[in-house]
């Protein structure tokens, strides 16, 4: 296996990589700009970041592993309830609450994964949907734990690192969200660059062939599902800590649907789509609801129709096309 340096070079370049570039600074540059320019909208900004983390988690499962799911709210909800219960009964310290929620989400993925991931396509969509619906019903039934329709409330969240109080204007929550988003993003990036990351892309492309190469496909997908579940749970936990409220709505079907719409709007399989899609969706929904509280979904629907028609690869696809055209124009 003595390959010459040039040969090695050629092959190294042939491995696609989610390289660290100036592009990666953009989301956080935007976070800083938004903080300066739109100070009164900080809670909305935090909401965007929570959904971006959730969409990132979904991108790992769907965009990289090809796991078609309409039940990711299950993990979001598990994270939210874990963080809420932790704050109520164990400790009001926020970071350990996130860790506990991530572990709960990961375990939920490890438990549900083997049940659903041996299937694909529509069957998989239905099974993920069924699991999320069952969790919603369980949360509704065991009122002594979850508070039923009233949800969990009345818990406090201690200052971040013992220093920064969660203020009414939402400044601490905003930076807390930005920090957690950075951690989840760079962990996701490392994951998709790893040998495991290549293996799950192989499974997405051709699972039968992966088995014929000797890879236990279901087991690899379960691991990916658990990691995605842990990140989705972090998003749910953030929401629980920032809003100081956990309700049944965190487990609802519409949450699974919304995050899928965000990811498709932004573009799957690139990690960046999560930022763009979550920003567009949350801001659009908020503005449309301000204009017309009962018909805001109409605007979201219209944008989705236009996106599917004119930007099938999402906003990331549009940007990549424009960049490619620009580069060709210069060459």
């Amino acid at each position: 296996m003595a390959a010459s340096p040039e040969t090695s070079r050629t092959v190294t370049d042939a491995f696609s990589r989610h390289a660290l570039s100036w592009l990666d600074a953009l989301p956080w540059l935007f976070v800083v700009l938004a903080y300066v320019a739109a100070n009164q909208y900080l809670p909305l900004g935090t909401q965007v970041m929570i959904m971006a983390i959730f969409a990132l988690a979904l991108d790992l499962a769907l965009g990289y592993g090809g796991i078609a799911t309409l039940g990711h709210a299950a993990f979001f909800g598990v994270g939210a309830y874990s963080a809420g219960l932790y704050a109520l009964y164990v400790s009001s310290e926020p970071v350990s609450g996130l860790v506990v929620a991530a572990i709960a989400g990961g375990l939920a993925g490890l438990a549900a994964g083997p049940l659903v991931l041996h299937t694909r396509g529509l069957t998989l969509v239905m099974l993920t949907l069924a699991i999320a619906t069952m969790l919603h019903e369980l949360a509704n039934t065991f009122k002594s734990v979850t508070g039923g329709a009233d949800g969990l409330f009345g818990y406090k969240i201690a200052p971040l690192f013992g220093l920064f109080r969660f203020d009414l204007a939402g400044r601490t929550a905003y930076w807390y969200g930005a920090g957690v988003m950075a951690v989840v993003f760079f962990l996701s990036k490392a994951l998709v660059n790893s040998p495991f990351g290549l293996a799950v892309r192989g499974i997405r492309e051709n699972p039968v062939r992966m088995r014929m190469l000797g890879v236990p496909v279901t087991r690899r997908l379960v691991l990916l599902y658990a990691i995605s579940g842990a990140f989705a749970a972090v998003a749910g936990a953030l929401s629980a800590q920032v809003t100081r409220l956990v309700g049944l709505d965190s487990l609802e079907f519409v949450v699974s649907g919304n995050v899928l719409v965000m990811l498709i709007l932004g573009g799957t399989g690139s990690l960046y789509g999560a930022f763009l899609g979550a920003t567009l969706f949350v801001v659009l929904a908020d503005r449309a609801a301000a204009v017309s509280p009962f018909h805001w979904l109409f605007a979201v629907g219209a944008v989705l129709i236009l996106a599917v028609r004119y930007a099938p690869n999402g906003l990331v696809g549009v940007i990549a096309d424009v960049a490619a055209r620009w580069r060709r124009g210069r060459a």
Partner: protein
């Protein structure tokens, strides 16, 4: 006495009323070059699917170097040294040629569950893929997505994938089908240079390739073994000419 590399005994399989494998038995000693021929629909690919674990037989047993794998998962069979190619190119179309080969290398080296480090940073993946692609003359295409490649070159990538697994038993399902004559030379060259200890079972319609590559030939007709023998014996057998060689042009 060393057990045969691959031993099939009394394999039976039906799809509904269609009997696709009838009491097939076959034994390949280590290092064998064995060809499976027969008219279309004779059950050749079915037999390869049964050996590789995509299908399960209704009766009979399959032994890999003496180990019963009749009910083993496909992954387990690969772990025991079995690899196969597919008649209809079955690769990872959205990934580059180098990534396709790296997937096979990852599987052999147990790296497919490694969550840390980068693919680029692993010399065993980079150099392993580089030397395989160089051998197959595919180095210039390393960075191209497989979906961009013409059919013949995809077949060569198929071969690169199974070679990356360093198997002990290799099943080749029509490796030359659809390959242009230019690439056919490269392919035959490559198949003739396979390690001697490797046991090869090849399905192929191109008789010139079969006669150059194989030592023994099994003729399948309607799911059953018509005859088995050396290349010369099979070529001389009038029944074989009737059902296959005579009635149908090559290719």
């Amino acid at each position: 006495m060393t057990p045969p590399a691959l031993e099939i005994a009394g394999i039976d399989k039906s799809f509904g009323a269609l009997h696709v494998a009838r009491n097939i038995s076959l034994a390949l000693p280590v290092g064998a070059r064995h060809a499976l021929i027969g008219p279309n629909g004779a059950g050749k690919t079915t037999l390869v699917n049964l050996i590789s674990g995509l299908l399960r037989p209704a009766a009979g047993s399959i032994l890999l170097t003496g180990i019963d794998i009749t009910h083993a998962s496909p992954e387990r069979r690969v772990a025991l040294g079995l690899a196969r190619t597919f008649q209809i190119s079955s690769l990872f179309p959205g990934l580059t040629v180098a990534e396709n080969v790296a997937l096979a290398l990852e599987s052999r080296l147990g790296l497919d569950r490694r969550l840390w480090g980068s693919v680029r940073g692993r010399p065993e993946l980079v150099d392993g893929a580089a030397s395989l692609l160089e051998t197959l003359g595919l180095l210039a295409l390393a960075g191209r997505p497989v979906s961009d490649l013409p059919y013949g070159q995809r077949r060569l990538v198929e071969i690169a994938l199974v070679l990356a697994l360093e198997p002990r038993i290799l099943l080749l399902d029509e490796p030359a089908a659809g390959v242009a004559s230019v690439d056919r030379g490269v392919l035959l060259d490559l198949l003739l240079r396979l390690p001697e200890a490797l046991t090869v079972l090849v399905i192929e319609h191109d008789m010139s390739l079969v006669f150059r590559l194989a030592q023994r030939i099994t003729v399948l007709v309607e799911g059953a073994v018509l005859t088995e023998g050396s290349v010369a014996e099979v070529r001389a057998d009038p029944r074989v000419r009737d059902v296959y060689l005579g009635s149908r042009p090559h290719g």
